[in-house]
Symmetry: C2
Subunit: 351 residues, 2 copies
């Protein structure tokens, strides 16, 4: 590996190696001329600092840990993929890198402790936190730097970045109301998911503002899978015709895909006869039949904000706030438009 050290550079520049270190770190008190000599030597020798040595000396690490939960069975979340890209990018702007590790059991905090106390990482970024997540609890308790994409509950005090799902779902439902729908179903996760509650609240708020009553039989719950959507559709379609929904809002694109699939299978013209909306803007949703109306999360911004926050803790910078809530964006496509389903099907995905 790298054989060129500070001493080599120093020898060539005719100074002590500690001086080289200072110059490279900008803490120098040197003449313009030696400054030049040192930088010339650095370039000629192609010197690069040894990160392990630096980390050891500084008692720190230039790595941020990021757990990979393997969805294993069924589905890898594309949003998290984009999130990873985003944090890697943002971290590198500050000389940090992302260390990914496999967290087989997403509730087990021990890999986090291990990495941190081995000085392998200086902090963590979590995505996909659950209500009362034990990892978050542990990290808070041990005061290990971290920032989460999502909130575990309303009490715990820690750094987070989140997307305002309530407003997002509210926009969806208001869009459906504007299309003339009055019986709007919601397919959501089982209770206990914070993200789910936020989106559900948006649904309730929109209905309430429109002066509509909530109908409990229009809310169906299930895991985050396409089959949940399929089964929910069947359940809703068993209702007598006048109690059936004319629109179905789903808390995820994956569920919406299941509904779409089942509705297509039942011979319905999605868009005209039944409106369907998703949530998250998984890339493929632009290519379904018809293209799926959904809510796009500003993942790049989320990533940047998350990195800024965790680096703030690690480098002990000033922190403006402990929580950041970013607004999502409604993407309207054919699956929720009455007349235009056929034309929309051939259109390019909107941007």
């Amino acid at each position: 590996m790298s054989r060129v050290t500070l001493k080599d550079v120093a020898a060539r520049a005719g100074v002590s190696y500690q001086t080289v270190s200072k110059v490279l770190n900008g803490r120098a008190q040197v003449t313009e001329e030696t400054h030049q000599r040192i930088w010339d030597a650095v370039r000629e020798l192609d010197y690069r600092p040894n990160i392990s040595a630096r980390n050891l000396r500084k008692q720190a690490s230039n790595l941020i840990g990021y757990p990979l939960h393997y969805g294993g069975d069924d589905f890898v979340h594309p949003v998290l993929d984009a999130f990873l890209h985003s944090i890697a990018n943002a971290a590198e702007a500050d000389g940090f890198h992302i260390l990914t590790f496999a967290a087989a059991d997403p509730r087990d905090p021990s890999p986090y402790r291990e990495l941190y106390y081995r000085n392998q990482v200086g902090g963590f970024i979590l995505a996909d936190v659950n209500r009362n997540d034990p990892r978050v609890e542990m990290l808070i308790e041990q005061s290990i730097p971290f920032t989460a994409f999502g909130r575990a509950n309303d009490e715990w005090d820690y750094h987070w970045v989140d997307v305002d799902g309530r407003t997002g779902m509210r926009q969806v439902v208001e869009h459906l109301l504007a299309q003339g729908h009055e019986r709007i179903a919601l397919i959501t996760w089982p209770g206990g998911s914070r993200t789910g509650s936020a989106r559900e609240n948006g649904y309730r708020l929109a209905l309430q503002s429109a002066g509509l009553l909530l109908d409990a039989e229009l809310i169906v719950r299930g895991l985050n899978a396409a089959r949940t959507g399929r089964e929910a559709f069947q359940q809703l379609w068993r209702l007598p015709a006048e109690r059936r929904p004319t629109a179905v809002a789903c808390v995820s694109d994956l569920i919406a895909l299941g509904v779409l699939h089942a509705a297509n299978g039942a011979g319905l013209v999605v868009g005209a006869e039944l409106a369907i909306t998703g949530f998250d803007d998984v890339t493929l949703t632009a290519y379904t039949q018809p293209p799926l109306t959904t809510v796009r999360q500003p993942i790049a911004e989320v990533g940047e904000a998350t990195v800024a926050m965790v680096l703030g803790q690690i480098l002990e910078r000033e922190q403006p706030e402990k929580g950041i809530l970013l607004p999502p964006q409604l993407i309207i496509r054919g699956s929720s438009m009455r007349g235009t389903a056929v034309e929309a099907a051939g259109a390019r995905p909107s941007t």
Copy 2:
């Protein structure tokens, strides 16, 4: 961060700290009794080694670099996502971790040099190599340890793991032939892609073995995007009826999705009137309408083999071979089955 060092453990166990190090690394010459005392002290103090110190001393790193190319505009490859999970898992079994870094320009080798010569990583894993990939060239030339998922060309001598796309595509086409198809189109990438050539060869071989002539107008090329599929479908459908294909084999699921979409839009019954197949088994393909026949790559095995190979180089172990070719698996679903499209649409994805 961690405050417990070897010296603390040593003090508690009543030995020198170097002895503790030896015991923990199994290089010990100690009585059973001191062995016990040391391990007790380790547990009581909850000691963990400082990775930076270890890496510095050993002149090595326990990290493997893995570049993240942001597809940015359109699509994040789900196969690579599964691959990342897989290598993270495999690496951890040997005490290594994956450092992900953003490689904005996938042709630029400089981030690789930087990471390696800073001693930040001990080697690299590349996915998605291109023909005559300049990164591969550089890594070979500087003899930096790495293993690639995919081959850059036939001449360069380096460690790789690959999936046998030729056999995969051959299986696809043989399946289509068995379904009675004789005019089978291929939608593939522009020339120059090694992966593409392999799959194309499989296509040619299958036709040849069946005694069929190749028809150049049935081969359409374009980038890896859904719109390529859409446009290819339109181009093929402009042909006079007797020269149109009855089946379309695509080199990726994404392209197949575009074809599927366009065929549905044109009112065709996919499966019965037109067979469509993809490649890669992106998870969502099980939920298209109808579900997509595709080829599944054994990603977990690829990941394990890749990690084993790069660790072999880093740790200077014996290497059995420099290249490993793994067989893919044909997954038959509704989009290529004549009579069963409707029933298959409701079925769970096959495993």
